[in-house]
């Protein structure tokens, strides 16, 4: 059971929680934007935010570990 729990932690969080946190933050903000607007344009904006969040998470990770 302990190994199964550790598997899911490694599976979803891995050794850098910043990735999971940044994805969730962007999607929660995206949900607010989507609920408040109409049309398909928020999709591209949210994708752009996800790409930016990934870059920020990796750069922060590398700087922190140098």
């Amino acid at each position: 059971m302990k190994a199964f729990g550790r598997f899911w932690w490694d599976f979803l969080i891995g050794d850098d929680p910043k990735i999971a946190v940044s994805v969730l933050v962007v999607l929660v903000a995206g949900a607010i934007v989507v609920a408040a607007t109409s049309g398909g344009w928020p999709a591209a904006a949210i994708a752009g935010a996800l790409l930016t969040a990934f870059v920020a998470a990796v750069v922060l990770d590398v700087r922190h570990n140098r």
Binding site: L12, S38, L50, V58
Partner: protein, 254 residues
Amino acid sequence: MSATWGLVGATFTASFVEFVEALTIVLAMGLTRGWRSTLAGVAAAAVALAAFTAVAGYAIATWVPRSALQLAIGTLLLIFGLQWLRKAVLRSAGLKSLHDEDEEFREQTRVAAAFADERRLGLDWLPFVVSFKGVFLEGAEVVFIVITFGLNANNVPAAAGAAAAAGVLVVLLGLLAHRPLARVPENTLKYAVGLVLATYGTFWSVEGLGIFRPGAASLAWPGGDWALLVLLAAWLLVSRALVALLPSPAPAAV
């Protein structure tokens, strides 16, 4: 048709990597502690996986609306894919050591040789437990990939067939080689799989945000399914830019 081949290719590649990792563990146990208990562990893991898949697949397909499914599965897939992509970027930039199946095989073999015999239910307990855990946990990742790709693309049989083909190929290669598949360019495969998982994860999680609109219909992407190609190009571009721009590791002191 092209969407089906994309689904098959993505599922096959991702599953192949997981099967190679499971095979490494099974070979290390089988060659050092004997095949009877090791294969008993593999069989027990296969039964446990079948039960897990039946329960998870039925629950997901029966009770969850499509946009909620896209949001939940897309989010999991995106986080999972970005973990792979992050590691691939760090490895390509020289900031993380390459994953080495030969090294993993040596480590598992050392562990297997160091433990004394402990027999339970007529089985050598160490190879039984280690092969069970290895096959179940790596297999659970394959099941997750098959369920997510299959349900979202409305083609579970194609996803399951691709994963099964990957499993058969890895077992055949393992039987021929009798050693871990160190020649498989696993790090390159993981980079490609990370890109594909991140692409589909982005596509589906954003589509699933439509659940927060009246009617709860999936959000439409500009360009429909063609947006997948744009997303793939964007993730590739961003990851290559990171590899090029991240600082190189300092040379080791002499």
